[in-house]
Point group: C2
Chain length 477, copies 2
Amino acid sequence: MSNNKKMNEAVTSRDADFAQWYTDLCLKAELMDYSDVKGFIIYRPYGYAIWENIQSHLDRNLKETNHQNVYMPLVIPESLFQKEKDHVAGFAPETAMITTTGVEDLAERLIVRPTSETLFCTHYNKIINSYRDLPKLYNQWCSVVRWEKTTRPFLRGKEFLWQEGHTAHATEVEARKETLDILQIYKDLGKDLLAIPFVTGKKTEKEKFAGAIDTYSIEALMHDGQALQSGTTHYFGQNFAKAFDITFQDEKNQQQFVHQTSWGVSTRLIGAVIMVHGDDEGLVLPPYVAPTQVVIIPIQSKKEEVKAASSHLFTELKKAGYRVQLDDTDKSAGWKFSEYEMKGVPVRIEIGPRDLERNEVTLVTRHDRTKHVMKVEDVLKEMPIILRNMHDTMYDRALKHVEANTYQAKNYDEFKAYIIKGGYVAMSISGEEAEIQIKKDTSATARVIPFDQTPITDICPVTHKKATQTVWFARAY
Amino acid sequence: MSNNKKMNEAVTSRDADFAQWYTDLCLKAELMDYSDVKGFIIYRPYGYAIWENIQSHLDRNLKETNHQNVYMPLVIPESLFQKEKDHVAGFAPETAMITTTGVEDLAERLIVRPTSETLFCTHYNKIINSYRDLPKLYNQWCSVVRWEKTTRPFLRGKEFLWQEGHTAHATEVEARKETLDILQIYKDLGKDLLAIPFVTGKKTEKEKFAGAIDTYSIEALMHDGQALQSGTTHYFGQNFAKAFDITFQDEKNQQQFVHQTSWGVSTRLIGAVIMVHGDDEGLVLPPYVAPTQVVIIPIQSKKEEVKAASSHLFTELKKAGYRVQLDDTDKSAGWKFSEYEMKGVPVRIEIGPRDLERNEVTLVTRHDRTKHVMKVEDVLKEMPIILRNMHDTMYDRALKHVEANTYQAKNYDEFKAYIIKGGYVAMSISGEEAEIQIKKDTSATARVIPFDQTPITDICPVTHKKATQTVWFARAY
């Protein structure tokens, strides 16, 4: 359709080497760059703008459901971090510690927050006294640091950006409802903004968060058949409340411990968008999250009528609220086509003198690389329909990919064969013993215990004991 | 006007002890709380919402002027930080250093960013090659850490939230224009959002930023007559470009160093809002930055007609885009009046059965504590006018405070007398020698060299040498 040679040279084919394709795209589409410290990346304007669109969508949803933003300190005293024993065991090996100002050593080591449960709990201990103070529905946007050994842009970093919600409730019922309500908000974020059909469910005991009673997760299936945990919500029960003594006087004047939750999504979602939708020509960005939704490329841009028409359309689209860019630089049209395909801009509008004679422009949609010739005056009217269709098509395509790559295994050989093909494999297992064996044999991990618990077999194909739960497995990032 | 006793007990009088009044308000209005680590504060929902409103206003202005947001790493390798010699000398004593993961010591100490010039410069070195790559107009929203000894909420912390802009340009003219354009954007932020008349000008050599050629600043005058530096913009010339080797090929194929700027405002602006506008009853928030613009308080809230009218007005105001709150809790009306006065909510609407018989409500404006009785159906129509008048009145009041407390000193005795009264004192001085003497004698510091350089005297009253510049002095936070 267009000359993509120039850009394609830089990007590995998706099916030849998915990992290399991913890294190439992150760099070449100018989403990020590496810094001098391994695992700490630079979010470049195009990558950060995707995150800003995610933030603004989710932040609105959280505020509409009465959540409030706060900001807690960057650092946690080592002694405070150690108060909840499961939590510290889960995080201790991967914490960065501030020990000195260079001039003077600190009296106590300060941990750079890997997550902020301990800070929220300390604050809640101070500000919660009565049932009238509940619920507390707090959220914060920040960066966190975890000393990961193996790092990949957006997927796993020593530092990443995220939101972390921390809530306190009077009852278990209310806190459990919050845990699932947020899971739904995350799932909707996939459906409405990212065009990603998240699979949801509960984590197994082995995979749950350090300190949680129950962890739920949204999982996305990448093009290569590997899963990506894309967000989690946790029900803590009273574990942290007891460790941090967070109590309130209920309506009967009884002292009670609060019930708590926490939940978060991160810049890992950018990785999910790349790996779910991208193709051999580059990124394919869902229209509602794309930093630039429409790029206008004048052909023979020095001709007055081309210049005037391009600039008029640009102004009209901008006024209508679209994120639109006009590229009238002196680079060749072919170069521009490749560049914006690489960057996954949803709609390209080519405006040339011949088309203009017929009062027409050529519009190319990135997700299916299809040309649409249309009257200039129809562009504005058609644009919402084009973007809506594109979003829906991308969502459906991703959903079909999930459906086509989800299997049920009645025996272990079947399971292994499916896992090698890639995708989710559901199997009814006896419990953690089976999970450990499966990971050892196939490197697949339990992704979720789905809400639909229809058994596949009565006996666990791995341990030959009684099956107690149906679990979706996959190899995962 | 209303029973404020309950809340007032908690807050020191503003004129009795301004510092204590300030701290009381920060805590009692629930803007912030202290954490377990000295100098690191918790931004509570009400305080953080003020910051979000500042962010959203300024971010829009920056994007409209073609600035792009990015996110740089939290950490800077010690060796990188030391590349620009003036810069490191300015910051070295106050840096927090990550040295270990608790399990393993790091090969190189990592400085938690006190500011990110060195990171932006390293990135610019990589991505700037040609004049076509310029200008780069980057900004980031983040928190920074400086190991300050004396800390006060919002004014000076070991950690604070800010934006830092870092730009690279082809020419000195363009970079100097950027430095002043941003200064104007900051000044407008004061005029349009914070109702603060910032005084602007250049910093003296002694007071300028570590590594800058010129620093400009916005200064605000607090109620107690002390000044607060509220934001700065820096022209770096080619100092950093040379240290970090940031060059580009110009249109004549010559290698040139870029010209750079940086600039920032921080959560210190929250401190400015408190200390410029607050009074003995508590905060007085300018209407456009206030998290809650209108609070509706039903009197005898169990009566059906009161309940219906309150909820109707709430819905109407919310639909019209106001940040409105309805307090129908069972606390007493008097308690509520004090509470929302303390929190500085611009407009309080009291809806009681007697007023309603006449189809009226009572509206109280916080900045002048004046009652306005008006027809229910007029509230929505009057609201934009009320908020606009309130904003303008608050701005004018603050401007009059600046004008009434700005003096010109023709001799050193006059200067000392004015400084004791509080406010800005302009004096024509010989240079740094005079500045040092003045600080020693009066603890006043040079705030700005104003753009208007009309001399007051030809001879410096301090050194008796030839006066070279007119400088505004004040005691400052």
